[in-house]
Amino acid sequence: MSSKSDENTIEHKDRLNLNYWSITRRLTFLYTLSASGILVIATVSLYWVLINNLEKEDNQFIVNKIQVLRVILQERPDNLGALEEEVKWEGAALRFTKYYARVLDEGKHTLIETPGMGNIIPVSLFPAPSGVTENPKNGIKQRSRDGRTYLLMAAWAEVGHLNGKKQLLQAALDVSPENTLIAEYRRKLSFVLILGILCSAAAGFLVAKKGMQPLEEITETVQRITSTRLNERIGMMQWPRELVSLATAFDNMLERLEDSFIRLSQFSADLAHELRTPINNLMGEAEVALSRARTPEEYRQVLESSLEEYTRLSHMIDSLLFLARAESAEAKIERVLFDTLKEIESVREFHNVIAEEQGIEITCHGNGLLKADPILFRRAISNLLSNALQYTPQRGRITISVKQSSDDQSVEVSVSDTGSGIEPEHLARIFDRFYRDDRSRSQYPKGTGLGFAIVKSIMDMHGGTVVIQSEPNKGSTVTLRFPSAN
């Protein structure tokens, strides 16, 4: 239920917020938006240039006519024939456009006009005329009685030279065909515009899709990786530069995953193996004991032996729980400032019982203050000492030294022995749980193989490190490095 409503919410957000869109959708949207912008600007300016040019031409045409009439009236005021020719017949001579002209006296009485003009364009329709010496202003467009649109212009003209007489000139040009043309042009232009936007959206979608292809491929590749195929890597394939770092990062993550996965399955296998031995002993002993009647003493021996196995199992569980807790987020340690050597001394005293028995000398030197969890610290030192005692022969020596770095930033505790050392091939895995070499298994069957793992996890909890150096037949040195607690 709740997941469904979640989906709904997400879908709802989807529509509103660009951030929730798929990248393809986003790219297509942005691409279309910018392409449409460019298309609209281009068409609108083309349209504007065309209209402007047409109007300019029309105006120029009428201005020209008016100039001609002005010249006729000024130069040859008495040549009525020329005037008549220009006014009456010039309009009829034009084939595609209609042109009308009219000459009026100062009292606005028509002196002469193109035939039929009076019915279509009355005198009053014209704008205010420009002065005698002025260039005619741009005309105005008016719809006339015949339903056509005319560009109208009026201007005063001088009659003869410097006699103060003037007449009014009115000229009209039919611009209806042009308007039709412009309307047609506008229609076509918007059609082209819409088509262009649609095409750019489609192209944008294809481009985005194509661009996103590597991402889809990388997703597909990643989806093929399962826990059984963790060894696959995606970095060696050809990826666009932007994805190479992603692929590399992903490969690194896989590397780590594979590593911990291998460790985990190794751990499970080891755990099963470690459990098998004591449980096998328990089952076998009990079965044999029960197979016939025994004396109480024999039963007692079986029970005692079982108890030893149980103790071993219980000890193993404790150690594993300790490790699990150390790894979990709730692992919290109580740091206390203490004298390192004093704590070491008390652990040494404990193990000294065995050391004396085996004629091994344990010496401690150096000093330093450490802020750490004292119980965990003792446990780590105790594990290291116990291990060193296992592998150090009679009359050997174990040295524990404490070194505080000069800047007080860290404390190093190292435990060295003159024991049998560890073969290099085992060193790398010595801190793994249950990891034991064959010699350890045979010489020290009671151990759990968790001692070093516990040391490592104690150091992890403190944010410190543990390093082991060893030379076969010469001895080993384990160094714990505690960082400053601040």
Binding site: L307, L313, H315, D318, L321, H351, I354, E357, S386
Partner: protein, 223 residues
Amino acid sequence: MRILIIEDERKTAAYLRKGLTENGFVVDITNDGDEGLFFATTHEYDLIILDVMLPERDGWSIIAEIRRGGKQTPVLFLTARDSVHDRVRGLELGADDYLVKPFSFSELLARVRAILRRGPTRQPEILRIADMEINLLRHKAIRGGQHLDLTPKEFTLLSLLVQRAGEVLSRTMIAEQVWDMNFDSDTNVVDVAIRRLRRKADDPFEKKLIHTIRGVGYVLEER
């Protein structure tokens, strides 16, 4: 001494009853929480051993109910879950001690005795068992009139065994009490220490006092 065990795991309950009865306690058992609460509030017990995970009603709510009813019967918690949080919660609710499964019976017995012993008891300065005499104040051990030459730790170990004479002490407990090593460790230090102590305190004498309980630990007693 009457002890009530509230534990749903029947095998656990059965061996606890057996072990505790054999050690001189009177034991009642119940397998579910409601019944346990009923027993705990209507009868008088010296100690309640309480499992945390129970059907019907868990250990937390049982102890809370008992304490709300004004009873201060000591409670020892048993649990399979070992987290600091649980431990703190148990103690906050008024539990007296806390044991995590798997635990050894000797450990449980020691804790039970420790809880029941609590209170103003005065340790005598001189302890005697058989022909052995321990002077806790002067740190001296004498056996058969002879002074035993012990190291300080050996003396601590011997006096622990004598103080708890007849009680089986686990290795973990000995390590904790004598060397303050309160964590599990797979060394056999305790065995070696006992061996050395025996060499001085037991071997020269005919009557042996320190006995090994195989798989459990050590006990000092006259046999």
